[in-house]
């Protein structure tokens, strides 16, 4: 049975402005905001409301009513940030907290209350803690977010609605408690329907005809017929493990033990569900509120404790425990199906499917970064484009590697300029000079003309020659451009073995 808590910060804006000035709580105090060329009241505190001032009133009218009214400029953006901070603070009660703008929060308290000794105590604790911080709150707990909201905002004494009794709790409340549009509420009141009990049992077809589908949806959300979509401020990772510590941990050994325990817990769960980690984050919540974290990634799904531990181990030293870490969290934001393999079978053969190869790649790339490459053929003549990086260890080549053309085993990353003596057009040169050394060419093959792929890049073609000098070394030279252009240049591009 799901249980939801709705917290309504009755005077969120004015309460927040009063935090540094407690005396504002006693005097009528409002916040103003310009709107359509005049100043209107955007928030009023309890004392001001008692004097008959309400939100949306023009400031001049309020001043006429109450000359000694205290006024400050509103900062709506800041108030939203305050609400977010409060939501984060409420994470102590449940990991699932959602915002209910402009001035409320929803908490999914399913299975949390017993830790506080019951629902009454849970809600009481929440109210006390927030009141102590200086906020006026109305807290209600019910089976649906809609019912909790209604009770928090409109019940005389908000509190815990026992499980299964949320419809009874709704009955005496006014229609506004269903979070309806103002026009619909107005129409309901005009028809004399001042309480939910007056219309909740009316035929649905009639209600839909008069008040629209939106009205029925809101009613269903409150009753629990329809799920209310809520977005938690911090999505709960489906795969995460927590390890709270009795004493703050400061030693490296302690952190290692914590990591090992968490990994064992996580991997056991993953193994049962036939899943493996692709990315994992290890977080340490420190006593002073900071969070230290390290993350790893694997090239294929894994649930091997020893392997994952090795990956973390390299970075473990970067965790600064400072005064101590009180809570360790291990999250796996990315998991993939990992079917059990008969791993023995691979031991003799090896090959690219070998788990140990993937583990090696992980170890290397976690230390030196993504600098491990595997290449696959591409159907391009231009040498630099004739291969591409593979995206994974398993990716298969779409085409065959070419063997009909001669390519040097070593190429220079950038072709280097050389000076040549080539007296006859389109014949290989007689000698060339590279880095101050003159090489006399004894044998040569070529030219092999490779044109630019004009749909990719403009430029001149290359005429490649394979040449061998008098010492027996073989080179790959090319001339960029036509011989008769007089603008051609010669380059050394590689070494044949």
């Amino acid at each position: 049975m799901a249980r939801f808590v709705s917290i309504w910060f009755r005077y969120l804006a004015t309460d927040w402005f009063s935090l540094p000035h407690p005396e504002y709580k006693k005097i009528p105090f409002v916040l103003r905001q310009p709107s359509h060329g005049r100043l209107i009241i955007s928030a009023a505190n309890a004392a001001a409301v008692r004097s008959g001032i309400s939100c949306g009133m023009a400031l001049a009218d309020a001043r006429a009513l109450l000359p000694d009214l205290h006024v400050l400029d509103d900062e709506p953006d800041k108030i939203q940030r305050v609400l977010y901070k409060l939501a984060e603070w409420c994470m102590r009660f449940t990991p699932w907290v959602a915002l209910d703008p402009p001035d409320g929060l929803f908490l999914d308290a399913t299975g949390c209350a017993h830790l506080w000794g019951g629902e009454e105590k849970y809600v009481q604790e929440m109210t006390n803690k927030l009141t102590a911080r200086g906020y006026t709150v109305r807290v209600a707990m019910a089976d649906t977010p809609g019912a909790a909201w209604a009770v928090a905002h409109y019940a005389k004494n908000p509190g815990v609605v026992p499980a299964g009794h949320h419809i009874e709790a709704l009955l005496p409340l006014p229609p506004e408690a269903l979070r309806l549009e103002p026009q619909v509420v107005e129409r309901l009141h005009k028809l004399g329907l001042h309480h939910i009990k007056q219309f909740i049992h009316l035929p649905r077809a009639a209600l839909r005809k008069r008040f629209g589908v939106g009205f029925l949806q809101q009613l269903d959300k409150a009753v629990g017929q329809e799920r209310e979509p809520l977005q938690p401020i911090q999505p709960v990772e489906p795969y995460h493990e927590r390890l709270p510590c009795l004493e703050p941990i400061v030693t490296a050994t302690g952190i290692e033990i914590a990591l090992k325990q968490l990994l064992e817990m996580l991997c056991l769960r993953l193994q049962q569900e036939q899943k493996g980690v692709r990315a994992a984050v290890f977080k340490g919540h420190r006593v002073d509120g900071k969070v230290e974290q390290i993350s790893i990634a694997t090239s294929r799904a894994s649930h091997q404790v020893s392997h994952l531990f090795k990956l973390f181990e390299i970075r473990l030293a970067t965790i600064e425990p400072a005064l101590g870490i009180e809570l360790f969290v291990l999250e796996a934001p990315k998991v993939e199906p990992h079917l059990p393999q008969q791993e023995k079978m691979w031991e003799a053969g090896g090959g690219l499917d070998d788990v140990r190869l993937a583990e090696l790649v992980d170890r290397l790339s976690n230390k030196i970064g993504e600098r491990i490459y595997r290449y696959l053929p591409e159907e391009h003549h231009w040498p630099e484009r004739s291969f591409r990086e593979a995206t994974s260890l398993q990716e298969e080549a779409m085409t065959e590697w070419r063997t009909d053309v001669h390519r040097p085993l070593h190429v220079l990353p950038v072709p280097e300029r050389i000076e040549v003596t080539a007296p006859i057009p389109d014949y290989p040169p007689l000698l060339f000079r590279h880095k101050g050394r003159v090489h006399t060419i004894v044998k040569a093959d070529g030219p092999e003309r490779i044109e630019q792929e004009w749909w990719r890049q403009q430029g001149q073609h290359r005429d490649y020659y394979r040449v061998e000098d008098d010492e027996g070394n073989r080179y790959w030279l090319f001339r960029l451009g036509h011989y008769h252009d007089q603008t051609f240049q010669w380059f050394l591009h590689g070494y044949f073995s």
């Binding site: 090696l360 170890r363 595997r374 593979a390 590697w401 085993l409 044998k443 027996g472 044949f496």
Partner: protein
């Protein structure tokens, strides 16, 4: 009788007898230089090649060797600070280029770490590391790593000045003028002068080797390596 004793001694020293596992790589006439007449796998070999031209020759010879070791299933790793190997060319030396992983390490000292890490992994068949400098201790570490995993390691030593290492052998490969049949014009098949400068429990030698249709052909043989540039025979 003597041969039996010799192979017993070798077995006691940790050398596998011929024909076991992946060790059945035949290099023709060069085999006679190796202990047990088998190319030592599960060991670290060193190839010296300071110049870029020599590097190409050494890589060609190594790729041919690795092709024999990897067969169809093996995977190898090539570690360097900057990749200069042109993957499409590997196919001509019998290796499917997509079965080779290239690791580009950011710093020279990471290359040693990466090589040791790779040599420890039994998933690989061979590991090649282009290193600029290697100390005796570092090479000893590598040797210890392969003794567990039985991976074959190759260090391409780019250092101009050679030091003592714990590697099982030391090679030097230089290019020789290619030969074309019937003195046709153009460039023929790759041909190298393969010098085995040092080999543990074997006999060093010099050969003239050609790469023909996916296999080595040993063309000529002289027993002793030239000692004019061999300052370390006493050190090893």
């Amino acid at each position: 009788m003597l041969a039996q004793l010799q192979s017993d001694i070798l077995r006691l020293q940790g050398f596998k007898p011929a024909g076991s596992g992946l060790g059945a790589l035949s290099l023709g006439a060069i085999d006679a230089a190796f202990p047990n007449r088998t190319f030592p796998t599960g060991a670290v070999h060193e190839v010296v090649s300071p110049a870029s031209e020599d590097l190409a020759a050494a890589s060609g010879f190594l790729t041919g060797l690795m092709a024999g070791l990897m067969r169809s299933k093996g995977v190898a790793v090539w570690i360097s600070t900057r990749r200069t190997v042109f993957p499409p060319a590997l196919k001509a030396f019998g290796i499917k280029p997509d079965r080779l992983l290239f690791v580009e390490v950011p710093r020279e000292r990471d290359a040693l770490w990466a090589m040791e890490e790779a040599l420890k992994s039994p998933a690989l068949t061979a590991v090649v590391g282009e290193l600029r400098d290697i100390s005796f201790t570092a090479s000893r570490r590598l040797q210890l790593a392969v003794e567990q995993s039985q991976v074959t390691g190759f260090i391409i030593n780019r250092a101009a000045k050679l030091t003592t290492t714990a590697c099982v052998s030391r090679w030097r490969i230089t290019s020789l003028p290619s030969e074309t049949p019937d003195a046709l014009p153009g460039i023929g098949l790759p041909q190298w002068r393969v010098e085995l400068l040092r080999i543990r429990n074997g006999r060093p030698g010099v050969w003239q080797v050609q790469w023909q249709k996916n296999r080595f052909v040993v063309a000529a043989h002289n027993e002793q390596p030239t000692t004019n540039h061999e300052p370390l025979s006493q050190a090893g």
